[in-house]
């Protein structure tokens, strides 16, 4: 029979290993350390069509993640989607910056790309981006393509 000391040692090792595994999952797998959710400011943008954008989708500028999508609402007055983005306060953008909804890869997830403008005044929390470009919807694209083809065919006659 084991003494109580040995038991304690083994259970201690077990607990340390288990908590270590949890830490490994949180830090290495989920990469908890890299995004600090505390220091962010919120900016809004209105889009005609957000396509498949989801909450917590990344907000990137020049390909670098600068924030995450916080909330997506429907504005019943302008009939547009209002997307709130939580931007890391280390990153400041000029007031006339523009936002696009982009797709990573051909069929990848959608994210918001911010292109910095030239204004000397930076955006504050609660500001709304004026220049936006909606998501590319495949059906619209195909429809446009067919329409152009049809127009071309008419011109040749």
């Amino acid at each position: 029979m084991m003494t109580r000391k040995e038991l304690d040692l083994w259970v201690g090792i077990f607990a340390v290993a288990g908590i270590g595994a949890m830490l490994f999952l949180s830090l290495k797998v989920a990469n908890l350390a890299s995004f600090t959710s505390a220091d962010t400011y919120q900016i809004n943008a209105k889009f005609e069509n957000i396509g498949g954008l989801k909450i917590r989708a990344p907000v990137k500028s020049a390909g670098v993640v600068v924030g995450r999508v916080g909330d997506i609402r429907f504005d019943n007055e302008s009939f547009e989607a209002v997307v709130s983005m939580n931007i890391d306060s280390r990153f400041q953008f000029p007031k006339d910056s523009s936002a696009k909804i982009l797709t990573s890869g051909l069929l990848g997830e959608q994210y918001i790309g911010i292109t910095a403008g030239g204004d000397s005044v930076n955006m504050k929390g609660g500001d709304t981006l004026k220049l936006t470009q909606s998501a590319v919807v495949l059906e619209n694209l195909i429809g446009q393509f067919l329409y152009n083809k049809a127009a071309e065919g008419d011109g040749k006659k």
Binding site: V11, I13, F14, G18, K28
Partner: protein
């Protein structure tokens, strides 16, 4: 003829009431008693530590080895499918998400039920059959506080740790096969995984799952042991029932929790 049908229906009803409804009610009362009497299992924590050793530490080998193999199989199978779509780098995402969300808690729970749950049931059932529990009562020691509660809490504490170890081992196994053996790019293996796995949504939900499975398995194990008929067949039947009932409970609870947690955004 009609009397025969009535007889059959009566027998069926009696079976359902006696085997399921009555036992469920007794089980709930038993859980309440266990929770109420768990004071000593924390005040005299060495009782619980002893049981954590038997339930948790001794399950480590099977959990770690199965986790490693499950991760390696996921790596092979996932690579085989993903490479057809030209996205072999997403292997890390596939391995880690399926482990952290589902396979870690569920498989660790199933292994825990058959490795530790059955042992707990057999031990308590045998203590009852050899009248050790009655002897304790004679000495004014509450068997629920002294025997049942420490084993229950040991299971509840061990299960999330085991599930986390299983998932971590599985991710490591997927890394071994995917990166070391097949040659998926190491950087994108980890970075895609880190981009896709969320702490709150995936890791915490997985831990919640494993905690719930721990409660369910430990509860079923101690209850079946305590309720076992005090005979050799009774104890063996109770051990079988522990494994069967816990496995079904884990899978059913997993469905319910998955439906609640991952309904999509």
């Amino acid at each position: 003829m009609i009397s025969r049908v009535l007889e059959l229906m009566r027998a069926l009803g009696a079976r359902i009431v006696n085997n399921w409804v009555w036992r469920l009610g007794f089980g709930c009362r038993f859980l309440w008693l266990t929770l109420k009497e768990s004071g000593p299992s924390f005040r005299r924590f060495h009782l619980t530590i002893r049981e954590i050793y038997f339930a948790g530490v001794l399950s480590l080998v099977i959990i770690l080895v199965s986790g490693l193999f499950v991760g390696m199989v996921l790596g092979l199978q996932g690579y085989d499918t993903l490479v057809r779509y030209g996205s072999a780098e997403a292997l890390g995402v596939l391995v880690s998400l399926s482990l952290v969300r589902e396979l870690g808690p569920v498989v660790a729970g199933l292994l825990f039920a058959s490795r530790a749950g059955s042992a707990i049931t057999a031990e308590i059932g045998l203590m009852k059959a050899t009248e050790q529990l009655s002897a304790m009562e004679m000495m004014a020691v509450d068997p629920i506080a002294r025997v049942v509660a420490p084993r229950f809490w040991a299971g509840v504490i061990s299960m999330p740790l085991l599930a986390a170890l299983f998932s971590a081992m599985g991710v490591f196994g997927g890394y071994l096969v995917g990166v070391r053996l097949i040659g998926v790019d190491e950087g994108s293996f980890w970075s895609q995984m880190q981009a896709a796995v969320d702490f709150r949504e995936d890791i915490v939900n997985g831990l919640i799952k494993s905690f719930v499975f721990g409660v369910a398995v430990s509860w079923i194990a101690v209850f079946e042991g305590y309720d076992a008929p005090p005979t050799a067949e009774g104890v063996s039947g109770a051990t079988t029932r522990t494994v069967v009932t816990s496995s079904l409970a884990i899978l059913a609870l997993d469905f319910v929790m998955t439906a609640l947690m991952f309904r999509g955004l």
